[in-house]
């Protein structure tokens, strides 16, 4: 099961990140997790939000390059080696991770957001191993 991530391209300019967050606030979009990839010229802001479609539309209307990406949000138990066990499963099948970042929603569980080049295969591997992945609806409920 996959989820949608909201991505925004931000050229490096003072105040640009704040403008993005302002738009999301105005549209009542709740942010559950963020990741910012930065280069010298621009940044890529990746967000897990309660309503990614509405977030994308609001940002595009406000003049931002915004898009949705399919990602996997995997529940990872809060124990040493928890993350490694999951990643090993997909690495064995030559599925590589483009990027990843954490997502915490309280309680004893943590989750990890993963973007991979082989989404269907990764989904299938995790399902077979009985590992829970969060869906779009799960995220909406968390918010």
């Amino acid at each position: 099961m996959t989820a949608k991530q909201l991505s925004v391209f931000i050229e490096n300019r003072q105040g640009r990140l704040g403008e993005v967050l302002h738009v999301l606030k105005e549209h009542n979009i709740n942010i559950l997790s963020t990741s910012l990839a930065d280069t010298t010229e621009y940044g890529l802001l990746r967000l897990i939000v309660n309503d990614p479609e509405a977030g994308r539309d609001a940002l595009i209307d406000a003049g931002f390059s915004s898009m949705l990406a399919d990602v996997l949000i995997i529940k990872v138990p809060h124990v040493a080696g928890g993350l490694q066990n999951v990643l090993e499963l997909i690495a064995e099948k030559n599925v590589s991770v483009e990027y990843m970042y954490g997502l915490t929603a309280g309680g004893n569980d943590a989750s990890i957001v993963i973007k991979t080049n082989e989404l269907p295969l990764a989904t299938e591997i995790l399902a077979k191993a009985g590992i829970t992945t969060l869906t779009y609806e799960d995220i909406a409920k968390m918010a």
């Binding site: 391209f9 050229e11 890529l44 390059s65």
Partner: protein
């Protein structure tokens, strides 16, 4: 010191007479040999026999860079292809190059003009000169090379791109003169300083051109390198470097006017302006055989000085350039039109037509950044995707302009929209 005292110091009446004779001959030559000129003169109702002396030149229509483009590649050549021995080319306004052809005699004349200019800079047959202009389609390298050979100097054809080798040879060979762009020479002075070679060089003259520069830059070059620095002017359409150069007086650039007849016009009314007033420089190539040009509009803005120079030359001088009457930029010696960038970007599906060129000079070298807006639907949220797109655009720009540019992707709507005429260039170099 003169290379050709007779021509460079000729009394005015004699020069006017010579120019008149050459003009009359030229007009008949182009009318008989170039369909373009024949049609244009017929349309203007001018017959070759109507041109009896220099004063009649204003009866003739102007020629522009667009005419060269429209007749690409060889349409304006007057000599048969069997007589053409060399081709050079420079940037056109929209991608197609401006092509020029030279007969053996044209090469002789060109070399003679460059030899005159180098003599003005104090270069003689005893000198060792490094030519560090690009060799190839660009006129700079081969033009300076042939002129220096004509002079009898020892020529080191460095071309561009290897500063380390250049400075090493400058010291090892004991080079006494250099020909390159002024910004590159300033850059070289820093390389020499960093390598601790400044007191080991024997340079005494620098012949710099192919890009606009200021008197301040000239002084800086002279101070840093202890040379006499001279401004050589030219354009491939007319010949290449060697059309004009400043002498030791540095009081304007002497035109080789027995070969290139100058006029200054108002770029709007196209009427001649008074001496001393700034206008667009127009040249008629009085002796050229390959691709003679009648009243060619250079788009360079300058003014004319007719008084005899303290150096003894009587030839007319043009003052330092005051800019251009079109939007052409000269970046690292290469002519660049914003329209070329526009034409190149049209072929890149991922970008919108909005772009901005930012030109600057960092450590004496020109930099070009092109900001482009990427179409929303082509954004990817992966850095490698964005990098691949940046690289693709950089490749397209490099092949269109012949120089590299730093590409900066911008979000939609982030480049300023102007209400009137679109502004596509920010030039932070202070050259005028």
């Amino acid at each position: 010191m003169f290379w050709n005292e007779k021509m460079e110091c000729m009394p005015r009446e004699e020069m006017t007479k010579l120019q008149s004779e050459r003009l009359v001959k030229l007009v008949k030559y182009v009318y008989d040999n170039v369909e373009f000129y024949r049609n244009k003169m017929d349309a203007a109702g001018v017959r070759p026999e109507d041109i009896k002396n220099l004063g009649d030149i204003t009866k003739l229509p102007f020629t522009t860079k667009n005419d060269l483009r429209d007749t690409y590649p060889f349409g304006l050549f007057a000599a048969p292809h069997s007589d053409i021995v060399r081709i050079h080319a420079s940037s056109g306004t929209t991608g197609k190059a401006t092509v020029v052809g030279y007969t053996q005699n044209d090469i002789e004349v060109w070399s003679e003009c460059v030899a005159r200019c180098m003599t003005m800079a104090g270069v003689t047959k005893d000198d060792i000169i490094q030519v560090a202009y690009g060799y190839g389609l660009f006129t700079g390298g081969l033009g300076a090379h042939y002129g220096a050979e004509k002079l009898g100097a020892m020529v080191v054809p460095m071309s561009t791109g290897n500063s380390k080798k250049l400075t090493t040879m400058m010291v090892d060979f004991g080079a006494t003169a250099i020909a390159c762009t002024p910004s590159y020479l300033l850059h070289l002075s820093e390389v020499l300083r960093d390598e601790g070679l400044l007191d080991k060089i024997k340079l005494k003259a620098a012949i710099c051109g192919a890009e606009p520069w200021t008197e301040k830059m000239r002084h800086e070059i002279e101070e840093r390198l202890h040379v006499s620095a001279h401004d050589i002017y030219g354009l491939s359409e007319i010949m290449g470097p060697g059309v004009a150069c400043d002498c030791k007086e540095h009081a304007g650039l002497h035109i080789c006017e027995d070969h290139f007849y100058p006029e200054i016009i108002d770029p709007k009314t196209l009427e001649p302006v008074a001496d001393g007033e700034v206008g667009e420089l127009v040249f008629t190539t009085l002796t050229k055989e390959g691709i003679p040009l009648i009243r060619y509009r250079t788009k360079d803005l300058t003014s004319i000085i007719r008084e005899k120079c303290d150096c003894g030359r009587t030839s007319v001088r043009i003052t330092r350039f005051k800019g251009r009457s079109d939007d052409m930029l000269i970046i690292r010696g290469v002519n660049v039109f914003p329209s070329q960038v526009e034409a190149a970007l049209i072929n890149v599906e991922e970008v919108t037509p909005h772009y901005m060129m930012i030109v600057d000079r960092v450590n004496n070298l020109d930099t070009l950044e092109i900001q482009v807006e990427v179409d929303v639907k082509y954004y990817t949220d992966e850095i490698r995707g964005i990098e691949a797109l940046t690289k693709k655009i950089a490749g397209v720009i490099q092949s269109a302009l012949g120089i590299s540019a730093k590409i900066k992707l911008m979000g939609p709507g982030s480049l300023k929209r102007s209400e009137g005429k679109a502004v596509h260039v920010i030039d932070n170099r202070k050259l005028v």
